[in-house]
Symmetry: C2
Subunit: 328 residues, 2 copies
């Protein structure tokens, strides 16, 4: 018989391109302790899993040991909840299909579930954030790529094969920019980080108009630096976000016409561009949305912040996994 111990905590893990964060979280979403390491140091998946397990065990031991840990939830790019695998990530160094949940479960002796970053954040927003109390809503994360997680009937949608929400890879410009995923004209090639930089570079190349952006070394330019130019009144920099916001507005209006969410929560690094992005986005969204839902869909910011938001979502996933038992 399994012993009767109250398992009052879970492990939430967020893997991003740059950093892997591991946290011990209680059922009310309090982060008891957390730690992180650079994802980029582990281009080999076995090395990554070793480091991840060692760090998780160490963090647990520093916080009273394994006994109180119920399960593990993990957010990772291209993570598929239905298979427990990372599947053909265009952005991560680990190629092909990797059974990450099983690899961790076997090493840790805990139930492990994985999903992708946007779906995990949607779970966090549903339980602890802006979407609390909503049954139909979507989270859009814009950073390195563009991800989307959404709820229908108060449940997270996974789709038939675990890959719903690939809004970033819908075609917005036929025969448009080449995407890392192999398709052309994908939304994320225009509105995620690299896409915005590409728009800026194209605009600088296409005219002789003066711009503060021209003073920035093209090898270190970032969306944040372009926002800095906007704040100094730079016309071309403002136009970069206007183009980005307008295109994103059409894509989100199309998405809303399909899914009809109560709210769309926009988060991720690019959301920090603030009104430079959101003003044209809202105008375009409002003018492209189907008349029967016009004015009904809220565009919201996340009320959870940064790294904590990411591990919180993963911790909610952990509570939804059936507890692991050797006696199946």
């Amino acid at each position: 018989m399994a012993e009767a111990v109250i398992k009052s905590r879970v492990i939430g893990i967020d893997v991003s391109f740059e950093t892997t964060t591991i946290a011990i979280v209680d059922i009310r979403g309090r982060v008891i302790d957390k730690t992180d390491f650079p994802t980029t140091d582990y281009p080999n998946i076995n090395g990554f899993v070793n480091k991840l397990c060692e760090t998780t065990i160490q963090l647990s031991e520093n916080n009273g040991g394994y006994l109180s840990i119920r399960s593990v939830g993990m957010s990772v790019p291209s993570g598929n909840y239905l298979t427990g695998c990372i599947e053909n990530s265009p952005n991560m160094p680990w190629k092909g299909v990797i059974p990450l949940a099983a690899m961790l479960r076997d090493r840790l002796g805990l139930a492990v579930a994985i999903t992708n970053d946007s779906k995990a954040i949607a779970m966090g927003e549903f339980t602890f954030g802006s979407a609390h109390g909503m049954r139909d809503f979507a989270v859009i994360t814009i950073g390195h790529g563009l991800g989307c997680g959404y709820y229908s009937h108060g449940k997270l949608c996974n789709g038939a094969s675990g890959f719903c929400g690939e809004l970033g890879h819908t075609c917005v410009i036929p025969n448009g920019r080449k995407c890392e995923c192999g398709l052309e004209g994908c939304l994320e090639t225009y509105v995620a980080e690299k896409g915005i930089l590409r728009t800026a570079k194209e605009m600088m190349a296409e005219s002789d108009e003066p711009s503060l952006m021209r003073d920035i070394d093209p090898t270190v330019i970032t969306p944040k630096l372009i926002v800095g130019c906007c704040e100094k009144g730079d016309k071309m920099a403002i136009e970069v976000f206007k183009k980005t916001g307008t295109l994103l507005g059409v894509a989100l209006a199309n998405f809303a016409s399909i899914v009809d969410p109560e709210a769309i929560i926009i988060t991720g690094g690019i959301a920090k561009a603030g009104h430079w992005l959101f003003d044209p986005l809202w105008e375009s969204f409002d003018s492209h949305i189907f008349h029967n839902i016009r004015g009904k869909v809220k565009l919201l910011e996340s009320t959870l912040n940064g790294r904590e938001r990411d591990v919180l979502g993963a911790s909610v996933l952990a509570w939804n996994v059936k507890e692991y038992s050797l006696f199946k």
Copy 2:
């Protein structure tokens, strides 16, 4: 106390632009009896409701009376399940917001639920048709307009305000053709009935290339007549469906990348164009879909036919309504 009678039948009503069909259906989807009248004879909503109620009562009386009728399900363009209203239909003669479910309930003394045509067909396909046993799938109806109804977690999606699935009104060509809904570049302005005719007329105007389509009186040309030209090997007619299928393929690939359905069932008058439409559609769909779901989404035809399919869906809706009682 309500009397104990086994209510083993429902009324399924399908309202299309041309015809209103009323059927008595049992729980296994057998159509016991049905009748119809021209919708176009009733441009005034009160006249329409009078005719509909009289016909429904007559049909019930001809089939053993009201006692065995449990409830009424109704499929109508722009019908909103959540409000019971027809809301601002761009295609029907009745303008504004019409509380159709309440109007019928008050007249018939039966519980009444309404939804739109595509959602009703999705319910029919789920219960009696091609989608039986699926949890995540979509139905696309292409005729006068383009509609979409889809399931997630084995439940029909309504969205937050009852208007999910407006795929026909997503923008596929920025600043494109003007749509009856007020937007520009909507999918249905290209791939539904009028859109296909417009493409044909544009192609005839843009070149001097000979075509059998030029022999058809432009005031009576239909997609069916264009299919006839295709079958005689007419290059331009074939190109009309190639353009249509290619654009629809991109839109359905984008839809699938968002919703990740197990299958997309394509139905409605335009689906009768067969391989002239489906070959280019499939090619375009396959080359625009996100790699992780490529080859996983089935494109299926409906196994239910015509008018029966439409009332069947409405009858499934009827079973899902709580039975009406005067003692609430």
